[in-house]
Amino acid sequence: MDDLEQLLARSMHGAATDAPPDTELLSRVHQRSGRYRRRRLAGQLAGLAAVLAIGIPTATVLTNRPEPSVPLPAAQGLTLRPGFQDPAFPYALPPAAGLRAPVATLESGTPTAFFEATDVRRQADTTVTVTGAKPSITGGTTVQVRGRTGWLRTTDVKPAKQYVLCWQEKAGQWLQLATDDTYTPPQVVALADSLTSAAVPVLPPFTLDWSPAGLSPDTVNASTMSFADGAFSVVLRKEYALPSPGRRLTRDADGVRLEVAVPDWDAVLDIRVGSALTISDADLQRFAAGVHILNRSNPR
């Protein structure tokens, strides 16, 4: 180390003692974390409340769907087909400073894209949801959005007013945009106007070598992939005890269940097939062997 390098090292170590104190660090981190959580929940709840509380039929509107869902007759034989095509959310906001790229999810058949604000002074968390039928929004004002008639409802809640804007994008497809009063009502409409066609992948927690043929995914999140309203599901759960050798197969009136310990993840892979479907033990084992857990997964 020459003179300059020694001086540099000394300078850095000397300057480090001038770093701000940590006396309030923990409380400030908790405050910030809580703020993010509240904002996230507020954005998501506004979207979900409008979808669920007012009883919107959750039609299948995903792009890239493997196959249309079919009604399940009693004890329908289930076959596996190779691979799984990730579903995709069909719209996106244009990239903007202070707004993260969307995270698409699929919960109970409802696809949603969440755009997280990183610059909370200029942008707000925004959730866009696609449904197959008109949301029955009560109250609100009529607005023109994307050349169509839409409805903008304002809910006066703390810490921020929530806006929900919905409109019919095309036959059989309704869009709903939920955000907060970081934006003005005209800005909310402008945000909706800026939506473009896209294919935002719903990122699954696993890759699947095999998937159930003919069943559409209804939930894809950090722990779960389920199909046909949960008739077939694979869930990564937090670790619990299984009999040796860490694998249990049970069949009862509700269907069949295969649990496999995943020691690397301190988790258990829980695969359930409801009684409306039949699957052989061999196929179930083959399916389980083809589930590859990804880093983005999070056991529940």
């Binding site: 850095m12 000397g14 300057a15 480090a16 770093a19 701000p20 940590d22 974390s33 999070n298």
Partner: protein, 167 residues
């Protein structure tokens, strides 16, 4: 050293070390606080996963580093000019050394973010080049060239100011 179990314990035990690291990295106490708070707030929700890692602190430091590089990208216009240094004081040695350190600190602030990060990781964290390369997700040759360029630039200015020799 064993890692503290809970998030709160980790912040209480390692918070100031993280602040010092962020401060040396950014050269700005407000930015350092913001960097550390931002990274920890994001990790709060997923702490169980982070704590399960071999070294949670290394993971947090890497996140601070990446946050700094990202923030600096957006704030690049604030980088200062290298050659604007106070004149060295002619006087007793300790005073001169203090001034030299101050000038060094200013020179550091004027470096491009990537060069500054390399120097901090090498001379403050005492990391070898392969580890720096892994942290910055670049090649070792890039680390060496960034460090070499930064040191050459600093050496030129310091020599012009008569603060250190050629090394």
């Amino acid at each position: 050293m064993s890692e503290p179990d809970s998030f709160d314990e980790f912040v209480q035990a390692r918070g100031w070390a993280l602040l010092r690291f962020a401060y040396v990295l950014s050269g700005d106490s407000h930015l350092a606080e913001d960097l550390v708070q931002e990274v920890l707030a994001r990790m709060h929700r997923r702490w169980a996963k982070v704590a399960a890692l071999h070294s949670a602190e290394a993971y947090v430091r890497k996140a601070i580093l990446r946050e700094f590089l990202s923030w600096r990208r957006r704030r690049a216009s604030r980088e200062t000019i290298l050659a604007e240094l106070p004149e060295p004081a002619a006087g007793d040695e300790p005073q001169s050394q203090v001034l030299a350190r101050d000038q060094m600190w200013q020179l550091l602030a004027g470096l491009p973010r990537a060069q500054r990060a390399v120097l901090v990781l090498r001379f403050y964290c005492d990391l070898p080049d392969p580890e720096i390369a892994a942290l910055l997700e670049c090649g070792e040759s890039t680390v060496r060239s960034q460090a070499s360029r930064a040191l050459a630039k600093m050496r030129t200015v310091m020599t012009e100011k008569g603060l250190v020799g050629d090394g």
